[in-house]
């Protein structure tokens, strides 16, 4: 036991945390890459995913079923948001969509408080996930391992979607030269809308995965939103590979900081971000997509 167990613990924890950041950051990046919209309501959608999941489990659905269904509901919400709010703003300067989604964040947060109340909720997990299992010298909660596997599954599915399917290829192409893709006879608008919905689905998934981890509460989206921004900014805006690297880095630093300095852990994360930006203003793998 002793320090080896602690090390294993820290590594696994930072992988879990980094994985959640990864799903959030990639979602933000996909939305940004195709729509040039930085979605500030992403954290609120994440909370929405967790609350939908909580309700599904509370009415008797299995956790895994809820893990599949809740993100789809969030995706539907995302579709409505895109059609009603984001679409009319497409021609305007980015500052307006930024402020718009900021307002949207407060609306969703407020609605969550209205429907589910202020108190903290706990997602009921299946029996087998409530135990611990020994990983090397450390004993580790099963549900965290399941979440880790869930994250791996989501990331694999995302890689397959972006790498192997028609839609994914269209998305990647449209993120660099939308006019060219349009000239090839592909409906770019539809690709952009699906990118927005995909981002929202990812936010919902992250919320559902993180629900058992951090408990479900009305303002759960705020902290994760800030952390996801840190990931996106460190990794480089619009860069998926950068987001992967940055998510793991931030997850690791935050876990370590929580272990050593507890209260001020987030301050360390912001310091990390400031440090990266001093040397690489566009992020680690930034492609100069800042506007």
């Amino acid at each position: 036991m002793g320090w080896i167990a602690t090390t294993v613990d820290i590594i696994l924890n930072s992988l879990v945390l980094g994985g959640i950041f990864l799903i959030m950051g990639v979602g933000l990046n996909i939305i940004y890459g195709l729509n040039r919209v930085m979605n500030l309501a992403h954290g609120a959608l994440y909370a929405l995913g967790a609350y939908f999941g909580y309700t599904l489990v509370a009415v008797g659905a299995n956790y895994f079923l809820a893990l599949l269904l809740a993100p789809i509901v969030v995706g539907a919400v995302g579709l409505i948001i895109e059609r009603v709010l984001i679409s009319p703003m497409r021609k305007r300067h980015m500052i307006y969509t930024l402020i718009l989604t900021y307002g949207l964040m407060f609306v969703i947060d407020g609605l969550i408080k209205l429907f589910w109340g202020q108190e903290t909720r706990f997602i009921q997990l299946p029996e087998f996930m409530q135990h611990t299992v020994s990983v090397g010298p450390a004993s580790y909660p099963v549900f965290r391992l399941v979440i880790l596997i869930g994250i791996a599954a989501v990331v694999t599915a995302l890689m397959l979607l972006l790498g192997r399917t028609r839609l994914g290829i269209n998305m990647r192409a449209a993120s660099s030269i939308p006019e060219m893709v349009s000239a090839c006879g592909i409906n770019v608008r539809r690709v952009q809308i699906s990118a927005f919905v995909l981002g929202c689905i990812l936010a919902g998934t992250a919320g559902m995965l993180a629900g058992p981890l951090f408990t479900v509460f009305a303002l759960m989206g705020h902290d994760i939103l800030i952390s996801s921004f840190v990931v996106v900014v460190i990794g480089g805006l619009g860069s998926l590979r950068g987001a992967v690297l940055a998510a793991l880095l931030v997850g690791f630093v935050q876990t370590l900081a929580e272990f050593f300095v507890t209260e001020m852990a987030m301050v360390m994360v912001y310091m990390l971000m400031a440090l990266v930006l001093v040397f690489k203003p566009l992020g680690i793998l930034g492609e100069g997509k800042f506007e």
């Binding site: 402020i99 718009l100 407020g110 800030i226 805006l237 001020m264 506007e291």
Partner: protein
């Protein structure tokens, strides 16, 4: 008092007065009205409400320098109000409570000292990353104010603040606990800050900032050091926010981490949007509308943050230029 203060910065303001006498007369009228107001308002509550409006008007104006003139978005400008408030309060409590001006100076300098490294990092990135960074750094300051118990008092905030004697133009008014004295003091400081900012915005420096807002690349090509001027705009905005913070803690006699929260930051942004970015007087009107509205809505319903969010969305969709854009909008619809 107003005319002597405006004459000092030189002929420019005289020229503006000649060019747009009606606008200036309205401003002068508003100023005179505000001076008389505490003596004719019977209800102390409203004197304090107008006082709060003036403080937030200063904060909204400082954000407008950044958003409307330099084209940079700061989500949590209230963090710098908070830093100004805390540092002024700490100065009064632990250093010297004899001079209110020295305490204010300490607050502003402290705010700028904190804002300098933050701004230096922020201006190295582009517009969007800049906005995200303001959110991250703002949350960082909020966390520090909230958790650094020995210095900031944590959740409880700064308590047991001494009430210094306020002085204006060499005349001692009364202690900061007196609502009329505090009101006049606030009015004096906000007026000076407004005239100062007005002067800066209408100077070559202001023109450079607007050039950066309009087209950063082109500004760089004509030889403007974009990063340096963005930093100057940022420092100006943060210094003014720090002044607003000093006034805030004198007015409240207390400050907690709550003023630095993300939701409060959205409120400041909304004041600027309501009033209209890119016009110095717009945010002042916006602050007045917002605080009256908040006072009204929060007495009606507990879920007023939903209403605030909806209003922000509607504003962005239908009235992106705020109240300041209304005359223009009306003119255009009439012409059609």
């Amino acid at each position: 008092m107003n005319s002597t203060a405006t004459a000092a910065p030189g002929g420019l303001i005289f020229r503006a007065l000649r060019d747009n006498p009606r606008g200036k007369l309205i401003l002068l009228g508003v100023f005179v009205f505000l001076v008389i107001l505490p003596f004719i308002l019977p209800n102390r509550f409203y004197v304090r409400l107008v006082n709060e409006i003036m403080i937030y008007a200063l904060l909204a104006m400082s954000l407008d320098v950044l958003l409307g003139y330099t084209g940079l978005l700061s989500f949590m400008h209230n963090a710098y109000l908070g830093i100004g408030a805390y540092s002024t309060g700490l100065f009064l409590m632990h250093a010297w409570s004899g001079s209110v001006w020295l305490a204010m100076l300490a607050g502003v300098l402290c705010t700028m000292a904190v804002a300098l490294p933050v701004g230096w990092v922020q201006v190295r990135t582009g517009g969007l990353a800049f906005a995200l960074l303001t959110l991250a750094f703002g949350m960082m300051f909020f966390t520090v104010a909230w958790k650094w118990y020995p210095v900031t008092g944590g959740d409880d905030g700064l308590m047991g603040l001494p009430q210094p004697t306020l002085s204006l133009l060499g005349i001692n008014l009364a202690s900061s606990g007196n609502s009329t004295a505090m009101y006049l003091f606030t009015l004096g400081v906000v007026t000076v800050c407004f005239l100062f900012t007005w002067r800066v915005i209408h100077s070559p420096l202001g023109a450079v900032l607007e050039a950066i807002r309009e087209n950063e690349e082109r500004a760089a090509f004509v030889g403007i050091n974009v990063r340096r001027y963005k930093l100057i705009g940022w420092m100006l905005a943060c210094g003014l926010a720090g002044a607003a913070g000093s006034l805030y803690i004198l007015y409240r006699g207390y400050t907690g981490p709550g003023v630095m929260g993300a939701f409060e930051g959205a409120g400041v942004l909304m004041m600027v949007l309501l009033g209209g970015m890119g016009s110095l007087w717009g945010p002042l009107v916006g602050a007045a509308i917002f605080i009256f509205m908040k006072d009204f809505l929060s007495s009606l319903t507990e879920d007023w943050e939903i209403l605030v969010g909806i209003i922000v969305i509607l504003l962005v969709l239908f009235l992106p230029r705020g109240v300041a854009g209304l005359p223009d909008l009306l003119r255009r619809t009439k012409a059609e």
